[in-house]
Every structure is written in structure tokens, then in C-alpha cells.
Amino acid sequence: MALYVKNFSAGFAGHQILKTVTLRFKKNQINVIVGPSGCGKTTLLKSINRTAEMEKGFSFSGEIRLGKENVYANQDPSVIRRKIGLVFQTPVALPLSIKENVLFGPRYFGCRDKPKLATVAEHCLQRAGLWAEVKDKLDLPARTLSGGQKQRLAIARALAAEPEVLLLDEPCSSLDPASTKLIEALLLDLAGQLTIVLVTHNLFQANRVAHEVIFLMDGQVIESGSRDQMFSHPEQAETKAFFSGLL
């Protein structure tokens, strides 16, 4: 499902972070957001899946739509959070077994059937490229996994909620190159099945996986376009400077 952000501003306790952001994330593509740290990338992702409102003093104006659905229309944020998964920068393993981490959403959404749950767990771990490594230790505590495995577990857990959009906030920033490569391959696999929004501070990574690139600075969209256009022919001076490592 395509995702639209329209004239969206947001901030904490009166301090404005996002300034009338207007964007379109293309359906079933990898949309990469780049920008200097502190420019509001995380705030944007958290606004999109409505976890920002858990934080103190959050306020916003403008609109975010998932297809035709207004993300902020529903009183209950959990409905939209299920449709728009978010994987955080720090890999988090819930203090449960590997399998129960994946089934955390499905069990809540009402799946009780044991063989069905086992299938869901396997399927999601497969899609997250983790199955081969964990299939013999599904009942071990998830904290025994490495950082890279935990991050893929987080992706499997998010996929298990059957989201239409997957947001990832610098998912590789604490991982080694091998794990990073695995996750990039995985994202390329997943694109085509669901809309992906990836925040990264790594321009090489952006270049490797992006279909679309959005350059955010100081809470504003400076420029966006296809990867080739953004990397080869950026129009704005700030974009040029950022992409050449000057910013």
C-alpha cells in the first residue's frame, strides 16, 4: 500500500521537529530516507506508525494516509500500528523464546491453533532469513541470539503482524558488515511484497538498496526522487553537499 504524508508537522512540547513534510512512499518499493542526525527521521517514522504519541508532549498537524485510510482517524492507535510495522535502531528481543517473539502479535490477534502458529513462526522466520539458523532452538530465550540475529528476529516479529508497510529505523547501525549484508538482501526480497521505508545514515547502503531516496534536513524534505536521479543528478545544493560528504 502506498503511504502519503501531507503537510505534516510534528514536535514535542511546542518544539517543532517536522516542518510541513509532504511525501509519497511508493507501494512495494524500498523508500530510503537519508539526512543528518537529529533532522527528524526517527520522529517521522514514529509519527507514521503512531508510536510518537506515546511520548510526552507530542503534537502534530497535517495528514498521513495509508492508501485511502487516514492514519490518525482512529481513536485506537493499535489498529494502524499493526498495519505499519516499525523496526527500531537497537535490536530488541522481547524476554520470551525465539518462537514466542515471532508469535507475539499473532497470539494477540487471536490465532490459537497450534499447527497454524507453528507455520506462521516458520514462515516469518523464513522471510526474515533467520529460519536456518534458529530452527533447532526455537524455544531458547531470544536474548541468546547475536545482534544481527536479533534484528532479523525483530523483522520476523513485525512481519508476523502482517503489515502493509514496514518501517526500519537505521536497522544496521549497530551491526557488523555481514549481518548488514544479510538484512539488505532480505529487504530487497521483501520489496515487492510490501512497502518499505528505510532510514539510514549510510549512503552506501542507500545506494545499494534504494528504489526511491528522500533527503530530509532540519525537519524538511529538501529533495526526493529515484535513486539514480538523487545520486547522479541532485538538484538542490544541500543534497549535492550531503551526498558528496560535505554536510
Binding site: 516499525l86 520470551l96 507475539f104 494477540y108 530465550p141 516479529r157
Partner: protein
């Protein structure tokens, strides 16, 4: 450079000194109790009731031990559930609400009420108004009021100690707060909450003032009847000592009380350790 170094050593010495002082104080209390109360301690002392005239000049403390444990049990039964629920509300649900501040303030004030005042309140509410009379139930409930803020504060800290990323991660999957609470947050906070309950139990076991006016008797059987007065370790100790009945048995009783508290507190500490080692 040398001055710095000297200063560091001074601080270090101060810390060590403070630590040693605490150990010394605890050590002296324990050894004093052991020396003076040790001789009174025996299996008989723990398994028979007080005897002689005045009562307690000989014999043991069984009814007091039973009474204290019953008082403790009632206090916890009454206060644990409301205390934990209050803490859960404060941490998990009351985030942006006014009520949270009011509750926090109330709990803080309750914690500051002198225990004899809690006792008087318990007397008015349970002994007189509710018609329980001077009784195990009235004393247990008064102690329950006394330990309620302890339970709230320890449970709140246990919940606050749970990795906040679990909440963010869990909720970002679209599950409810209640589901997250039951499956992740409470199990994580459980050792801390239990440890708080044990601390509260110890606090209740040692409190004398509230039960003096609501529950305690100089002599009572250990029938377990909720509506009759009970004997209790701290009150028995107080009577033995203040009425010059038997200093040796007073020390013996004190020793048993302190050992009970040590047991509760070390278990609490051990539980907290588990939590630190866990996921």
C-alpha cells in the same frame, strides 16, 4: 597530581569507613542479641507458649510467632493486590493523567504517617466502627494500611526498571497495553514486586505501634480466630522488657524477630539478584 591522588585516597578511605561502620553496627546488634538471647533460644522456646506468673517469665513464644505470621499474612493479603494495581496504573496507564500525580502524592503522604497514627486510625475504623474489636483482623488490616505505600513504591520501581524498549517494541506491533503487561512487563517485574512484598512483610512483622491499639494481647491462645486478640513478637518483647518480666526471654524474642526479618530481607535481596541476572 599528587594532591588529586591524595584526595582520591581520602574519599576511598571514607567510603570504606562508612561501610565498616555499618557492618560494625549490624554486627554488634546481632552479637549482642546472640549473646544475651542465645541462651533462651531452644526448640522448646519456639514450640511452647509463655508460662509462669507474671506470664512470660518462663516458657516460649509460640503464640507470638503464630500471631506475627498471621498478622503479616493478613496485612499482605489486604495490601498486595491494591498496591500492585496502583503501581501498574501509575507506570503503565496513567502516563499523561492528572490522577497519577494525585496518587503519587497520596502514597508519599501515607508513607510519612507515623505508625502509631495509622494504629489509631485502624482502631477507629476496624476496632470500633467496623466492630471487629481488638483482634487479629483489625491489626492485620491496620498493618495493611501501613505497608500499602511500601508495596506501591517497590512495585512501581520494579515496573519502571523494566526495559522501556519492551514497551515501545511491544506496542509498535499493535497489541494492547494489557496484553503487553501480562506477557512481558509483569513477568519481568515479578522478582522486584515479590521482593517488595517481602520487605513489606518484614516491615509489618516488626511494627509494634499499630498492633498495640488494634490487635495485641498480653496473653492469648493461638486459635487463629480472626476476631480475637493475638500475641505478637514485638509486643511480647515490649511487655517482657517494660514490665521487667524476663530480660533473657525478651532478648530471645528479639533474636527470633530479627532472624525472621533477616530471612525475609535476604530472600528479598536474592529475588532482586535473580532479576538482575535475568534477561
Amino acid at each position: 597530581m599528587n594532591w588529586r591522588h591524595g584526595q582520591d585516597r581520602l574519599w576511598l578511605a571514607a567510603f570504606w569507613g562508612a561501610g565498616l561502620l555499618i557492618l560494625l553496627i549490624l554486627g554488634s546488634i546481632l552479637s549482642c542479641l546472640l549473646i544475651k538471647g542465645g541462651p533462651a533460644l531452644s526448640l522448646d522456646f519456639l514450640t511452647t507458649g509463655p508460662k509462669g506468673t507474671p506470664l512470660g517469665i518462663s516458657g516460649g513464644i509460640l503464640p507470638c510467632l503464630k500471631g506475627t505470621i498471621s498478622l503479616m499474612a493478613i496485612a499482605l493479603t489486604a495490601a498486595a493486590f491494591p498496591g500492585i494495581v496502583t503501581a501498574v496504573y501509575l507506570v503503565e496507564f496513567g502516563e499523561h493523567s492528572r490522577l497519577k500525580n494525585i496518587i503519587n502524592l497520596t502514597v508519599q503522604c501515607m508513607a510519612g504517617i507515623p505508625s502509631i497514627v495509622t494504629g489509631l486510625f485502624g482502631y477507629a475504623l476496624f476496632v470500633v466502627y467496623s466492630g471487629f474489636g481488638i483482634s487479629l483482623l483489625a491489626g492485620g488490616l491496620s498493618l495493611g494500611i501501613m505497608v500499602f505505600p511500601v508495596i506501591v513504591v517497590t512495585a512501581r520501581d520494579a515496573l519502571l526498571g523494566v526495559n522501556p524498549l519492551y514497551r515501545l517494541t511491544g506496542l509498535s506491533l499493535g497489541v494492547s497495553r494489557r496484553y503487553l503487561l501480562v506477557r512481558v512487563i509483569l513477568p519481568q517485574a515479578l522478582p522486584g514486586i515479590l521482593s517488595g512484598l517481602l520487605l513489606a512483610a518484614g516491615y509489618a512483622a516488626g511494627a509494634t505501634a499499630p498492633i498495640m491499639v488494634t490487635a495485641a494481647a498480653i496473653s492469648a491462645g493461638s486459635s487463629g480466630n480472626l476476631f480475637t486478640p493475638v500475641m505478637a513478637l514485638p509486643y511480647h518483647l515490649y511487655i517482657l522488657f517494660s514490665q521487667h518480666i524476663s530480660l533473657e526471654n525478651a532478648y530471645g524474642t528479639a533474636l527470633v524477630l530479627v532472624l525472621l526479618l533477616l530471612l525475609l530481607n535476604t530472600t528479598a535481596l536474592w529475588l532482586r539478584r535473580i532479576k538482575e541476572k535475568g534477561a
